[in-house]
Structure formats: C-alpha cells, structure tokens
Amino acid sequence: MSWFDAARERTARDILARYPKPRSAVIPLLHLAQEQEGWVTPAAMAEIAELTGTTPAEVLGTGSFYEMFKFHPVGTHLVNVCTNVSCQLLGGEELLHHVESTLGVKAGGTTDDGVFTVEDVECVAACTEAPCFTVNYRYFHRADAGTFDEVVADIRAGRSPIERGAAGDAGDLPVHGTLGRVRQQVPDDRRAGVVPPEQVEGAPSWMATMSPAASPSVSPDGADAGEGAS
C-alpha cells in the first residue's frame, strides 16, 4: 500500500522512470509528497526511501537542506514577510509586526484554523518592490498593512488575492505545496537516452571540443541526446 494517493503513485513511478539511478528522484518525490499533504510527513519520507532505495535518514538529510520543504505542518497559506535590508528600510519589520498581530501568531507559527503560517524570511529578490511579502510564494509588491488586510480578507472569503499582487499575475492562489497546473509528462519515446553514469564512455560531448584530439561532439551511442527523437 503506497503512501501516495493513486494518481500521485502513478506520477511517482513516472518520475522514478526518468532517472537511471532511483535515488536521483528523491527531490522530485519530496515535492510530490509536499503537494499531497502540504508538508513532508515522516511517513512520506519512509515511502520515498523505499521507492528510491535509500534510507529515511538520507531522504531527510537531503530534503532538510531546502528551505521550501516543510517537515512540520504548515497552514494552507504560507506568508513570507521579507525583513532584509531593502524591505527593512521601507517598513518590512513594521509589516511583519502587523502580520503577526493581525493573525495572532509569531513568525514561525500557524493560526489555529490552519490557514496561515507566518515566516520572517531573508531576501526574496524583489528589492525594487520593497517592502514585499509573498503568500505561497506569490509576490505582493510595495505592500503595507492595508494590502495585507485585503489579501487576508480575500483568502478568508474564498476569493483569489492574486490580482493585488505583482503586475500580470492572475488566477487562483493554490494551497501550499501545490506544484503546478500541468504535470510534466515525458512519453517514453520522447525521453532523452539516459545512460547510467557507470556506462558512460569517453568524455562528455561538450568537453571533446577542448581536447586537441577532438572527436565529433555527439554522445557515445551516436544519438543526438538533445533532441531525444528516435
């Protein structure tokens, strides 16, 4: 019995099939697990270890490097308020205090209804639009307390706050963990020829041009790996 639901179980198998070494699939599968529950549960890591022939300790050790994998439950909406230099100068700290007092949780906490988790984060790479906060990694630029209150009101009312965000954004604001509307699907016959590392012979094609005894810059089996068409 897989930990993944039926559809994601199929996706997981599909992801595993992309790699010559199953362990390469650890990070994509962590994303998939986070999508299912909103965070990466210990049971999910045990399942991923099983699928990739690793141990749960390796899965946690790999995943815990990445800030965006959550190993504790988080709300459906993850609010990240930037307090790095640019934002701080233009009111980021004050915005964070407003967020904390509005939602009644300190940074790192989750509201009792499980909707909002607040985080105090470092630079989110929008210094020109400071102060800035994100909800589920969607930007809200040049924000103030009023912007945040409107966003909260929208979310509580079931409306999408996206249009209050960065210019050009539209549509829904999916819950935390959602990966994308479109799954990457690579049919078997479109897959680039994957060669397990131990079966690779010779230098990589991009290296051949650097050597005086240059060989034609194609992969060893002669197929053009870039296109993958057969």
Binding site: P42, M45, T55, P56, A57, E58, L60, G61, S64, F65
Partner: protein, 837 residues
C-alpha cells in the same frame, strides 16, 4: 604468508615534499604518500579505509603542480609527477591556524569533561598546529547533549566538527545509512531519522573513528581517562574471523576493545558484538572457584541438587577419580572452540594422548566435518575479496555470524567489483548486491549446484528455475574462463539442515570448479584452531588423521587408533548411557547443540559431567564437577582464524578468583592421572606443537612477534574425505522445511552477560514467504504451532519475502521460542507442519 602473489614492480611517481624527493605510488593520495614517507599532515576527515571527501580542510598544504604554489587539500589530491609540496610553509601554517580556529568556533571546548580528552585529534592538533587562542566571542551553536543514536552510541552534536567520518562509515562500509547530515547550512548536524535509531551491527566503529568526542560508546562513558589506560594488542576470540583488537584496561579491569587495522583481516573494523563483549568477561557472574555437587546448605553431597564451592585439589581429585575409573571408550570430550590453540593442544593431548579416547569434538553438531573443512583447498579473506573476483556463498548470512568478514565481503562486492552468487535458503545482508541471489530449499543445494553446471532436470532444482541456475553457473564459468579467482564461502546455512547436504554441495562445487578455494564460515571462536589441534574425531594436531600419528607418537603416551564419535555421536552415546565421563570445554550443549532433546537426554544419562567454563550456564548447572577457566583477556596464547591464520592472544587482566587457563587445567588433571604433559608455560605448548606438527613448525614466538599484526598463515590440507551423499527426502506439497539460523544477538551466554548487548536480541518469529502465508491462510502476528517430528513450538507468524517459498524461518537461541525443540540432529532436513491454535 607464501600464498601472496610476489610483489609486483610498481612504477613510482616522484614528488618533492619539503625539499626532499619521495616516491609516491601512482594514484596515491598526497596525504597518504606523505604519511608513508614520514611527513604527517594533520587531518580530521581523512581515513584510509573511507573514500576521501575533503570535508574538514585541515590537510591543506601548499602544492605546486607547475602553475605556482597554491593551497590544496592533500586528502583529495592524487600524486602527479613533479609535484612540489610544502607542508611547513608560512601559508600552510596560516591555513592550518585558520582552519583550526574555524573548527573551534562552534566547538564547546568541554575537554575537561569529555571522554575523548587525552586521545582527541582535535585537542592534539590544536596544540600542535593551532593558534592557541580563539578570537570568537559570540554565542556558539547549542544542541541537546548527548542524544543516544542507538542503545550504545551517544552523539554530542556540539562537539561534532562535521568531518563526515561516521556518516561515510555508515553508508560506505556498513551499508546502514541510518545517520546522515541533517539541516545542512548553519545548523548542519549528524542525526538519525526521528524514531529510527542507528540500528547497525557496526555502530561502535563510528565511535572509534570519530576524531572528536562527539560519538561516545555507553560502556566506556566516564569510565577512564586515556592516560590511565594500559593497552595490549590481541585477537578477538568471539568469532572465527579473529579480528585484531587493542585490549585497554585500567586498574585490572578491561574497559574497552578497539579495532586494530590488520590489512589481511578486519581493516580496523569490529562488529558491536566483538567490541562490547568484554563486558561479559568482566561480569560478576563469572565462575571464580571450582564447584562440586552439594546440598542447599553448601555441604558436599555427590547426589546433591546444588553446586557448592570446593578447592581445586578436591574438584580435580573428583574429576581424576572419575576419569581414571572409566575405560577410554567411555570417555568423551566436547567443546574447546573457546580455547586458545595452546589450551586446545593441551586438551587434545590429554584426551587423545592420555585418556586414549577419540570421542572428541570441538564442534557441537552445528558445524561441518573436520576432514571437509581441512581437506578442501583453503582461501584467505584477501583471496575471497580479490577485486573482480567471484564469491559463491553456500552458508549462513555473514552479517549475522561473522560481522568483520561481512564488512570485508561487502567492500569487495560493492566497491571492488567482486561478483557474488548466493545459494542460501534466506536473503542475506549481501543479497542486495549479489549478481545472483538464489533461494535454495534446505537439502537442495547439491542439486542446485549440479543444475548450475548443466546437470539435473531442465525444470530446475530446489525450487529454482533452470534459467536462474544456468545464469548463475554461466557467471561462475565465465569468471573461471577469464582466470579470475572463485572463492566459495562454506558453512551451515541452517541448523535445521544437517551438515551432509551442505558438504555434498561443497564437494559438487569442488568437482565442477577445481580452481575454486574455500573459506570456512564455521563461526564459533577458535574452532579452526580446534580442528588444527586435533579436537575433532579422527584427527591429530597438524591437520593429519589418526593413521598419520608419526608426529605425536614420540611425545604422546598413547594415540587412539579407531576414529571416535563426532558431537552428535557422543551425545547419542551419552544418552544411551555409554559415556562414563563427559568433559565439556566451554560447551553449553543445552544452548548450542541444535537438537535440544538429544542434549537433554545426553546430560541426563551421562555418568560424571566435568564442565570447564566461564559461566554457570544451564549446562554447567547440571555438571558434577565445575572448573572455572580464564577468559581470552586473561590468557596468553594464539588463535587460528577461519583462514588458518595464527595470531597472538595477549593477557591483559587477572582472572577472577582462582580461575585458570584451560591448558593449566589440563596439565593439573594429567598430573592427577599420573602423567606429566610436559608443559610449564604457553611457550612450552607452542614449542611442542611446532615439533609434532610440520605445518606449525613456523609458529614460533619470534615469528609471531615479527608479524604481530597480520599473524602467520598456516597452510596444509588433510586428505579430502568424501562422505556418502546424504539422501534428502522429497518435500510433500503441504509440508514446509525449517530454516533455523543464528542472528548477531541471541540469548547466548556472552551476549546475555554483556549489558550493552543483552537487550538487542530480536526474539523469534516464524518467517513465511508471503504466498505461503496466504496459502496456509495465516495472518501476520497470529500465533501458531510449528509441528515437527521432534516437537512443537508456539510462535508468532511474520511475512518475510526474504525466505524461500516452502520454508519457515526461525532464529535459534532466542528467548521464549526454542527452535532446538524442533530439530532432530539425525535427520537431514526438518519438516514442519503448521497447526492453527
């Protein structure tokens, strides 16, 4: 010794180290080349038995490879011709200063309360290479300290310098990647997955290789300071690998064993069982005085139901009276695998040369016939682990029985391209890496072997498909054709299967692969020494049969002429009342003989039972005379490992009470019987052994001292005996066959007396292949009757995809479930029916 290939002329790479030209080996890492030629470069993460990782940067040195000098980590840099290295330059010193200061930024500097203080590479190198003081005044990282990562290993993450040694060991060497770096970044730490401890048989090695005090072993925590320890290099006698160890003691008590890197044997690794078993030798329950039968008040009473303390003179007298009253044919000696070679020789001389009996067996019905073990071409561990070689496993799971050997084999298969073919009834710790892992029914191995090489039915054999068998055979044949060495590991895969079918399979492999060499997986301590010393029916010291008594005839008063019984035969004779005196040399027959019923009957019907032992085991409790023996940490002598390698066992502490070395007990007993064995010391025994056994002629104290680390390989074969082929009954469709094997931890006397290990025994469940489970309509966890001809046990059912279909798997020697009640030693295999309750 001489079976090693002659040294090949290795081309060398000349490099310049601190102005002097030294010859490095091609591909050798700079740090290793420097150390080998006398320049020590400080390091924390580098370990010669682990892959380089370049984690700690302590080994930065200034290297010029033609582009001007630059700092490079010498543990990641293979030597290249013309390399110019400066390990003492200003920049090198500055880099070392900086790295040490950096490593100490988060180190708590709690050396005064740290067990590692005094033997700590971080402490030593800070003194030798460091800046002397820290500029860091900020708050250090804080973690809960220490946290147990398993029952025996504690982790203090504040002390950790993140060298990756323990985590690399866990993954690369042990294959148990249960510890890993977590939260990489500013909070990087070593940890386990929550609720999943570092449950590895080899976890103690991480403590030994930790370059700081981050990992400590519970049995040694706060016991001693390194400068108070005395140490002596010795050999682990726990199992037949004979790992080299350092025995470290303080105030006449052994406080720890550390692995010593013997290149031919254990590479410095130990299983936790080898490492922590010293606790048993130091246990308060050790026998400290002889005992005789008596009553509850402590008075001597020959038919009393208790054991009471007695002086040696009285106990030896009772034993000698019984021995001198019994005819040679009604005397038997069982056991002796725990003893040193010298003690074994003394007892062999006493039993065979003074008593005149050949009913002597060091194995307890759980091994293989001595003539087969000594008659097949022998392999060394190095041969088995040859890069690119082929290993055929026809025996038990090395991970469960011979931990240090498992690590060598795993390295060969995982890292050195060795090919593994398994013919085992159950998945082993190596199966994941096997080229062919075939599940053979008990009794079916010989058929499987002949099917592998084109004989037998096209439908396959022993429950295996013809294709799978042929593929495995083809792999081996290809290796032979290409001249790559094939080594067969042979032992008893299951105690519920007699030795006969295994011997048949081993001989079939020998016939099909005359080039193949065999490595015995007999497990118990110095059992191979016992075979070499003649503690086996039909054999005399030096791997010769009774027919070839020329060696001993001049120094032994008598030599038996007729082959005696083996262990099962001795026990059967005892059960039939045909044994007047049964001497047990550390033989816990009630626990170690696979056939429990036979052992019970034998003890009940034997005349006088003389037990020489370390502990008051249930077997000893039924003896008439109990003589306390000295443990391996308390005796000098030698040990013969499964390759035939003789290495030194060294005394470190005093035996409790009046316990004596086994050889001295033999001398005393002989004296009472009016014979002088002629030994006043261990060296006397060794000298006589060298005189009577040509193959041991080179085993002198001088030769052993000259090769103290690697030992001396004793070579020589007995004529190969070919027992009659064992007929295995056909399995009916409803019956199952029992596979009863050992696990690393059980309720055996040494584990039970090692507090660190005693809680680790996994207990017994009946493992069924999943389809067998549904075929019998059983549910996991359900308690069923396992019914054999001999007896019935109740046990919970578990689904185990690792067992062969048509078998039930049960661990022996576990609490609550006594698998020995099911086993009939005279039957080739043990059939099982399942009864619902």
């Amino acid at each position: 010794m001489s079976d090693e290939t002659p040294p090949v002329e290795i081309p060398s790479v000349d490099i310049t180290v601190d102005g002097e030209t030294v010859a490095a080996r091609p591909g050798e890492l700079l740090i290793d080349a420097c150390e080998r030629t006398g320049t020590y470069i400080p390091r924390f993460c580098h370990h010669s038995r682990l892959e380089p990782v370049g984690m700690c940067r302590m080994c930065l040195v200034e290297v010029d490879t033609g582009r001007g000098p630059a700092l490079q980590p010498s543990c990641m840099l293979p030597c290249t011709p013309g390399m110019v290295v400066d390990t003492e330059s200003e920049r090198t010193r500055k880099a070392q200063d900086g790295v040490l200061e950096f490593l100490l930024v988060n180190h708590p500097l709690d050396c005064p309360v740290c067990d590692k203080g005094g033997e700590c590479p971080l402490q030593d190198q800070t003194m030798a290479f460091g800046p002397g003081e820290s500029r860091f005044v900020e708050e250090k990282r804080h973690f809960e300290k220490p946290i147990p990562v398993n029952e025996n290993v504690h982790l203090d993450r504040e002390r950790c310098i993140l060298c990756d040694r323990c985590t690399r060991f866990a993954g690369e060497v042990a294959g148990d990647q249960l510890i890993h770096f977590m939260d990489r970044g500013g909070q990087t730490q070593v940890n386990t997955f929550p609720e999943q401890p570092f449950a590895s048989y080899f976890s103690g090695n991480t403590v030994q290789i930790c370059p700081v005090g981050a990992l400590t072993a519970a049995p040694y925590r706060f016991k001693a300071r390194p400068w108070d320890l005395e140490e002596v290099e010795s050999t682990s006698t726990l199992d037949s690998v004979g790992s080299r160890i350092s025995v470290q003691s303080s105030r006449d008590r052994v406080l720890r064993f550390q692995g010593v890197d013997a290149d031919a044997v254990n590479w410095g690794w130990l299983s936790d069982k080898e490492r922590f078993v010293f606790e048993a030798y130091d246990h308060a329950d050790r026998l400290a005085t002889p005992m005789l039968r008596g009553d509850a008040l402590g008075n001597r009473a020959p038919d009393g139901d208790a054991l009471v303390a007695a002086p040696w003179s009285e106990a030896l007298g009772v034993a000698a009276d019984a021995l001198s009253a019994a005819p040679a044919d009604r005397l038997a000696v069982l056991g002796g695998a725990r003893l040193t070679n010298e003690s074994q020789y003394a007892w062999a001389k006493l039993a065979k040369g003074v008593f005149g009996t050949d009913h002597v067996d060091a194995q307890l019905g759980d091994g293989l016939p001595a003539e087969v073990v000594l008659g097949l071409p022998r392999a060394t561990i190095d041969r088995a682990c040859t890069p690119g070689g082929t290993i055929v496993l026809l025996g038990p799971d090395p991970k469960e029985e011979l931990g240090a050997l498992f690590l060598r084999l795993r390295h060969a298969v995982v890292h050195d391209g060795a090919t593994l073919v398994e013919l085992t009834p159950r998945r082993t710790g190596l199966s994941a890496h096997a080229a062919h892992s075939l599940r053979v029914l008990p009794g079916g191995a010989a058929d499987a072997v002949s099917a592998m090489f084109g004989g037998g039915s096209p439908a396959g054999a022993a429950g295996l498909s013809a294709e799978a068998l042929a593929a495995a055979g083809a792999t081996i044949a290809a290796a032979v054709a290409e001249g790559r060495p094939v080594t067969v590991l042979v032992g008893r895969p299951s105690l519920a299967e007699a030795a006969g079918p295994v011997v048949d399979a081993a001989l079939a492999l020998h016939d099909h692969l005359p080039e193949a060499a065999f490595l015995s997986l007999l497990r118990r301590g110095n059992v191979h020494g016992a075979l070499d010393m003649g503690l086996a029916p039909g054999l005399l010291p030096g791997r010769v049969t009774l027919a070839d008594a020329s060696g001993v005839s001049s120094v032994w008063p008598t030599v038996p002429t007729d082959r005696g019984h083996d262990a099962i035969g001795i026990l059967e004779a005892a059960a039939a009342g045909e044994v007047d005196v049964l001497v047990l040399l550390g033989a816990d027959v009630l626990a170690d003989v696979p056939d429990r019923d036979l052992a019970e009957r034998a003890l009940a019907n034997a005349g006088t039972v003389v037990a020489v032992d370390l502990f008051g085991t249930p077997t000893v409790a039924r003896a008439d005379v109990v003589l306390p023996a000295a443990a391996p940490t308390e005796v000098d002598g030698t040990f013969t490992n499964l390759e035939g390698r003789v290495s030194v066992v060294a005394r470190k502490v005093t035996a409790p009470g009046t316990a004596r070395p086994d050889w001295a007990i033999a001398v005393e007993l002989a004296d009472r019987l009016g014979t002088d064995l002629g030994f006043g010391s261990v060296d006397d025994v060794l000298a006589e052994l060298a005189a009577v056994s040509p193959i041991h002629a080179g085993i002198t104290p001088e030769a052993l001292a000259a090769s103290v680390r690697e030992g001396v390989l004793v070579e020589g074969r007995t004529a190969l005996a070919r027992p009659d082929r064992t007929e295995v009954p056909v399995n009916d469709a409803y019956g199952l066959r029992l596979v009863a094997d050992r696990s690393m931890y059980d309720v055996g006397v040494l584990v039970a007396h090692s507090p660190s290990l005693a809680g680790l025994a996994p207990g017994a469940v009946a493992g069924f292949e999943p389809s067998d489970l549904s075929r019998h309509g059983l549910a996991e966890g359900e308690v069923v009757d396992l019914i054999a001809d001999r007896g019935t046990v109740q046990v919970a059912v578990a689904s185990d995809p690792g067992v062969a279909r048509g078998t039930v798997h049960l661990r022996v020697n576990q609490a609550d479930v006594d698998a020995g009640r099911l086993i009939d030693a005279s039957a080739p295999v043990t059939g099982i029916r399942v009864g619902r309750r």
